[in-house]
């Protein structure tokens, strides 16, 4: 029946596969952190347990185990114990069910390490910074990179000869190393830009010019450290895509029919951009990982550091919350790109519809 609607069929089949990926990712996100040797309650107890006598330590530990759903609990909320009096550990499966039911209700649990802070609270507090730094940087880098790459491919000549090796060099430079150099040169040696933080230390976020200008001032170095290199990387990809498109028969045909230059550039740009869209979706997926290093180098606010400490402290709920968020973002980004390409490129649609 769907054969009559290839577009709908294409979207549904993509959506189906993405949903499966999502389920698998949720399962992996849940079980992988639990494969590690250390239990988060042990880590908490190592911090607060010192100085307690044995009985008090056990009671405290059990109250945490219960709080985080790591032990079996009876109807009245009492811990179920085995013959030796030790609490019965909740099975991973039971924990998983608990996690899924709670997540569906929008409750991602309480962080172990930042107890009693809610996971959602932590994420909501940090994610705007990560997005504010990473999203415009990645998107702008992508746009500028594509334009430059297309220019280099179309114009060739000196521009290409100078720009292409430079972009390649930028691509070969790890962006954190570049960031370090920026901090060293512009913040420490020349005192041109601040080296630390997302806004001046004597401000609190507000809708005032003072705050916004300070945030922009602090934004420049981290932005440059990612933007310049990611634009270079995108330009390299776009350049070779454009050179490929320029060699195609349809471009030659259009040229021979006297089609205006700007229209030919548009043909090239649009068709070369389709594969680049996938690249954009992928780089959005690397956002949190990339944010982590930027946050380290510039002491910039954001989610990356929370993720690192969460993983190192086996803070399951926070890890899960963050990875779930990343997973959803990446999947949505990829899915929308797939759908966009489906709409923009009749070949893809036809290819899928025919299957």
């Amino acid at each position: 029946m769907l054969k009559r609607y290839p577009t709908l069929r294409y979207i549904l089949s993509k959506a189906g596969w993405y949903f499966l990926t999502f389920i698998a990712a949720v399962i992996i996100n849940f079980f992988l952190p639990r494969m590690g040797a250390s239990n988060p309650v042990d880590i908490i107890m190592a911090k607060v347990g010192a100085g307690l006598d044995t009985q008090a330590a056990i009671e405290k530990e059990e109250s945490y185990l219960k709080e985080f759903g790591l032990v079996e609990v009876d109807k009245d909320g009492n811990i179920i114990r085995d013959e030796s009096g030790k609490p019965v550990q909740a099975s991973s499966f039971k924990q998983f069910i608990r996690y899924v039911t709670m997540s569906l209700q929008g409750d991602f649990g309480t962080s172990f390490l930042n107890y009693p802070k809610k996971v959602s609270e932590i994420i909501l507090g940090a994610i705007p910074w990560t997005i504010a730094l990473q999203l415009p940087t990645i998107v702008l880098g992508w746009i500028i990179g594509n334009v430059l790459g297309a220019l280099a491919a179309y114009r060739r000549g000196i521009f290409d000869k100078f720009f292409f090796p430079l972009a390649l060099l930028g691509n070969a430079m790890p962006f954190f190393a570049f960031g370090m150099l920026l901090v060293w040169l512009f913040a420490i040696q020349m005192h041109l830009f601040p080296a630390i933080g997302g806004y001046a230390g004597d401000l609190i976020p507000s809708f005032s010019w003072t705050f916004i200008s300070s945030a922009i001032y602090h934004f420049i170095l981290p932005f440059l450290s990612i933007f310049l290199l990611s634009a270079g990387g995108q330009a390299i990809g776009m350049r070779s895509m454009c050179i490929y498109e320029l060699g195609t028969d349809y471009i030659k045909y259009a040229k021979w029919l006297g089609v205006k230059e700007h229209k030919i550039i548009f043909y090239m740009f649009r068709n070369a951009m389709l594969p680049q869209l996938t690249g954009l979706a992928l780089s959005l997926g690397g956002m949190v990982g990339g944010a982590l290093i930027t946050e380290m180098i510039f002491s910039y606010p954001g989610l990356g550091m929370s993720v690192l400490t969460a993983i190192q402290g086996n803070d399951y709920p926070l890890i899960q919350g963050c990875t779930l968020l990343v997973t959803i973002c990446v999947l949505i980004a990829n899915f929308s790109v797939d759908i966009a390409i489906g709409f923009l490129d009749p070949r893809v649609r036809a290819g899928q519809g025919a299957k």
Partner: protein, 343 residues
Amino acid sequence: MSEVLTGVKQPEVETMQADSTPIFEVKDLHLHYLTRFGDKIPAVSGVSFSMKQGEILGIAGESGCGKSTLVNGCMGLFIPPLYPTSGDVRVKGESIMNRTPKDIRKNVLGRKVAMIPQGAFNSLNPTRKIKDIAADVIESHDDGMVSKKEIYERLRERFHIIGMDDSILNSYPIQITAGMRQRTVIAISTLLNPQMVIADEPTSALDVTTQKAVIRMIFDLLEKQIFSSMIFITHELPLLRHVADRIAVMYAGEFVEVGTTEQLIFDPRQPYTKALMGSMLSAEPGQKQKKPVAIEGAPPNLAKPITGCRFAERCPVVQKDCKLNKQELRVVGERLVRCDYAK
């Protein structure tokens, strides 16, 4: 502008003296490719011909003989790595060489000279609807005076005139059949009623029925006077019998024999032309008893200088001095032949 689209030929001053000025003239054209290491490889060496209004010239030769290069070089627009070495191309006596790309695009391409490329599959932008591809051609020549809507309307009209289904206009290239695609390409190429059409193997890679439909369409367009002069390129010499008035056979970047269709099909004189006719698997009358014979060997490497006859290495009737003396085109009867031994 509407005449351009409706297919009614504009009365032009030049047509008055059509017989005195050739509609298309190529004078001693040399073309070369430039490799990325800076080496020049000559691809077309000293080709000259001229065509009268309404004439159809067939150019035949093996793949790689330079026939496609030759016609690419006749467009006035050179797409790297192809570059002109020397010579001149004139349309109605007016040279189209050494003009700015902008001028060429606006005034020559599509309007004076139009190309029907081979392999229509890849010639249409896959992400654009047919009507937009066609509209781009028109918009590029009308200084943006006409609205999109009007252009679409005219396109529909034009497709009716040339007997094509206008639903094609709303399709993407991938959605229509190969034969339809080739016909669409022809329709788009001739949108501006060009004075001169260059068809580069328009029928290759098509099955026989579709080939016929394409040829029929070309004749139909000629009949409707959408265009009148054409260079038709093919590697199948016999195909030209029904199409061309005159035929030029090309080998290794040179014309080796030029004459009327009758002369070349039934009485080839140059050894290569003979071999080419012989290699064809076709049932032309008068050739029935002959079995197709493949031509041994490969064309010479043009990157290296050649002194003698370029066909000498493969020539079945090669003579001692063939490899030493450069052969020139000479008049034999009413045709031109590049072989000192041809009679």
